[in-house]
Symmetry: C2
Subunit: 679 residues, 2 copies
Amino acid sequence: MNPQLSSSSFLVFVFVFVFLHSLKPASIYCHPLDPLTPSEISAVSNIIKSSHLGSSKSLSFHYVGLDELDKPDVLAWASTHRWNKAAPPRRAFVIVRSEKKTHEIYVDITNHSIVSDKVYEGFGYPMLNFEEQEAASALPFDYAPFVESVKKRGLEPEDVLCTTFSVGWFGERKQGRRLLKIQCFLTGDTVNFYARPLEGVTVVVDLDAMEIVEYEDRMVVPVPGSTGTDYRAAKQKPPLGPRTKPGIIVQPEGKGFEVDGHMIRWANWEFHLGYDVRAGTVISLASVKDSEKGIFRRVLHRGYVSEIFVPYMDPSEEWYYKTFFDVGEFGFGLLAAPLEPMTDCPANAAFMDAYITDRDGLPIKQSNAFCVFERYSGDASWRHTEFGIPGQVITEVRPEVSLVVRMVSAIGNYDYVIDWEFKTSGSIKLGVSLTGILEMKGTQYTHADQISGDQHGTLLAANTMGVYHDHFVTFHLDLDVDGPDNSFVKSKLKTVRVTDDSSPRRSYWTVAKETARTEADALVELGAEPAELLVVNPSKKTKMGNDVGYRLISHGATAASLLSDDDYPQIRASYSKKQVRVTAYNKSEKWAAGLYADESRGDDNLAAWTARNRVIENTDIVLWYTVGVHHVPYQEDFPVMPLLSGGFELRPANFFESNPLIKTPANKLVHLPNCPRNP
Amino acid sequence: MNPQLSSSSFLVFVFVFVFLHSLKPASIYCHPLDPLTPSEISAVSNIIKSSHLGSSKSLSFHYVGLDELDKPDVLAWASTHRWNKAAPPRRAFVIVRSEKKTHEIYVDITNHSIVSDKVYEGFGYPMLNFEEQEAASALPFDYAPFVESVKKRGLEPEDVLCTTFSVGWFGERKQGRRLLKIQCFLTGDTVNFYARPLEGVTVVVDLDAMEIVEYEDRMVVPVPGSTGTDYRAAKQKPPLGPRTKPGIIVQPEGKGFEVDGHMIRWANWEFHLGYDVRAGTVISLASVKDSEKGIFRRVLHRGYVSEIFVPYMDPSEEWYYKTFFDVGEFGFGLLAAPLEPMTDCPANAAFMDAYITDRDGLPIKQSNAFCVFERYSGDASWRHTEFGIPGQVITEVRPEVSLVVRMVSAIGNYDYVIDWEFKTSGSIKLGVSLTGILEMKGTQYTHADQISGDQHGTLLAANTMGVYHDHFVTFHLDLDVDGPDNSFVKSKLKTVRVTDDSSPRRSYWTVAKETARTEADALVELGAEPAELLVVNPSKKTKMGNDVGYRLISHGATAASLLSDDDYPQIRASYSKKQVRVTAYNKSEKWAAGLYADESRGDDNLAAWTARNRVIENTDIVLWYTVGVHHVPYQEDFPVMPLLSGGFELRPANFFESNPLIKTPANKLVHLPNCPRNP
């Protein structure tokens, strides 16, 4: 899949070789949370195709994933069988389309049978699959009005390429059709076709019929030239950009983590690394070892990217509908980018493959779908220099090492980098980075001085407008801090006035803890008031009597949606004005924009669930956190944007009795490889 | 100074040796912004001691630093002489105390003369020097009531250690005395004396008289035990903390940066790395090369930590006054921690020394005061995978390499890590990390259940309260984006309602640019409204006609002060409620809390300057940004807290015509050192 791999194949070989040496043989039986194996996927496909659905010519698969055991069963299995003593029952959840209907099918893989097959009658449609998008993209070339539009612009159809866009929902009341819009671009001598849109043309495809059902060529807009758009190294001409000297991480004692099937064990962490065609990376059962207590303590039962809402801010005919749900419509796992050794992940990374399914439900291997590596940031994890003791200077420093699980999803033009970083301090840090290519609109303007009125973007290059938009990346975080029953606490910082003479001070702040009783109490608009946000286990206390907990800390990218509440995309993503929400755990509440995000109407989203206002105190709860970016493009974002990063940290807060790293040995004398530094 | 160094001396030798090979011989003449050399410091001291002040027995030096040339002269010298053709004139600015008076002295080093000597008559006092703090700390042991207090607590004076605290200002109207408070601690078998405070005792020292002028023993509070307080590796007993495998950066082609005197050149950056006893690291004349234009373009004329305001939130007799100005009272450079190779900075770091002065104005070397290293984060600087072109998958990725300049200042209990990170993308990223030891208050409580009423902190260990407090780290950022005359622009994101049928959408947001005309227009409370904050050069446009600029992006830690405006510490730090301020450039406006921060009254601070409301449009302006943290302690912060990080980024925004890294070669084939990986 990745033509770049061969160029660094020698190094890959070296690292994979070394890495394999550190692998334990995988357990005989899979873990109940393991993603479906290729043979399981094939079995599921066969079972469905052997059913009554098999005779349907229109049968197409849109989701094939693990139907995991109920949470208590997973926990029971994990605690009693300890990963390798008995085979867990295996079931799949499948969504297919057949005869214009959406079927939700549960398959018992172990017993080779269909458990249930239900036709979904509500609003919205399942994830788009590769093949139907490819087929739809090809339709315009056999559609005479489109070919005419191309020629009218003085272009040749063979230089044109089309891609697919979800259509959104804009207030239609009756059940709609399963539609897709097509936008086309000029390629010519660049691979960056996004930079060369054919504006003015609207193509609507009915996916069930697989035919163009609406067509409009509203106006001709100049197509931007290709100069400066290509990003491939081989296409660059001097003057070249800044160069740096190479640097690689060497681990003289080898890697510090162990991969046992899908379980990863490293330093004081263990967790299950799963995969889903919709969510991408899924982290489960993350537990941190408490050295003092000598046990692993549970932190995160499940975490993954639940949805990414990306509304554009141009209300014109060809752009208003661009209000994407990248996870639910396109599949974050489906579009995983093959990671490049040495560039996407450092030299010491291990790479892993994943499996998705094609439209026939058959397995497709995704090479290098994620990587796992130890990060040596060069920072300290803690330090102190003491000048205060006469006659001595004491300095103690511990370098920071963390473990990163990375995946990249290339949803059309954009690339999202998601990093799960496990720290020895007990923190889990989530990094979200945006890169890739902007969505650009063709325009007649070639200089900002020509522009009048709101053009909804930044003029990036001649005839090229980078359109304003947002990214809202919503994480599902089923924290189980020291057990499943947790509470959400806001420690509000309140200013206290000193109005008597009790102190020379006239004010100070203190902490007022408020435990959220219901889901409404747990809605948080970041920045509205100073508060620490915690998930605590109210039945567990430290020796000092403090609530055992984890704290949520934002690291930038805290934007919330600015759309009006009655705007259709906002109705669909009505959860996107509060960055923090907490729900009572419910196995079915996985996808923030609903199970059927395509053409959804907001009736089954995270905000709808929280509107039930369930009790969330001292019970199994899920934290939902949205990383948000308002994206005003700048010329530097053209033709490919530099990484823009944000994220958050889940940091132990009275979880340990003290800093767990104080007793970590200094480990500073490293034996360098016995070799010259400049070979 | 650093007893740890010897343990890794072999490696240090290796790296220093390799590093020296990459050094160019320093230019014959220093740069006009170079910090004072040891011989210059000695000369300054001699000149002053040869003046009328030399006969004063009470003469003590509180600040000795470069009095840099006026900005136009620096720029003229830098552009015409290009660092090495002529010796610039050299002057020092000195603050001494003599006969209870503060003298501001300008010394012409080149001509060996005093230019001016002015007695300062206003409020506030200069930075405390080492020696007077040491002398004050010793006073209690010869003060009978204190010895009695110690014995009354069943302790021996030889197990007690005292440190010094600035006293603040609490509304006294007449000119005060130069005072210091002393707090004492039990050491015993721990070096973490901060964890064992002797509460209830107040000791006030008059620094000019160097005698105790107030003493009170208000109450006896249990002194916390030493268990779990010591952080030295040698003192830890099993079970030990989590261990990780070592990893070190190897640079097969050597370092990529060049140190020429105090100029650093790396990739597309060059800048001057200076030092000041008050500010610590000073970055000047940072310019980034525009590969397309083939020239260096100016970005940052001067940047440094101007002040750190740290108010505690306990109004009681022994704690109310703890409202520190760490830079202006104690000296961020004065308390620079000697950086440890391999732990404070990675294996590929180069270390540099700095010079400060003692109370006699003589030079003292600070070994390893800062380090410079290339960071290989393991992240991409940009990437894209293209699935949209039938029959191929294109992946282009460029790994990120940046250059970090790091210093650590250990202001008593706290350690601040300040990172200046230069990115090839043109960004400058500032990292502020807090670590070190909390200020702890002795208490009778040994369990949270015993606590009644507001105790102003978290019970961290038996008898140990971690007191609530804030850190406000204010940066002086004299941006000169493509030249000195800049403007400050808020690009406000405004929701537009669609009320007609012009679009199926009902809303979108757009950008309304507002250029700040005066200093009042430029006050920003982060989070109050969505806006992009930019410093632009209104006379420079990109080819597309966009204003050339840099954008300010917060990366977490955006707290603002919660104290009431009439509270005395807030009056002194009245700038601390707006995270962003812009001033008209004025050479004398360097220190956010005023030149004399100790016992200051807020009459010469950043807020007082901005209250003048000068015009700041299209002129030389300075951006002031405050990184803020409300610190509610948790048990993990005991006995030494894990790094807590925040910061911001100055990111090119229509500064370049396009992403400057697109033309950077891929550089992914790295030849590993020819050696086994497990020697």
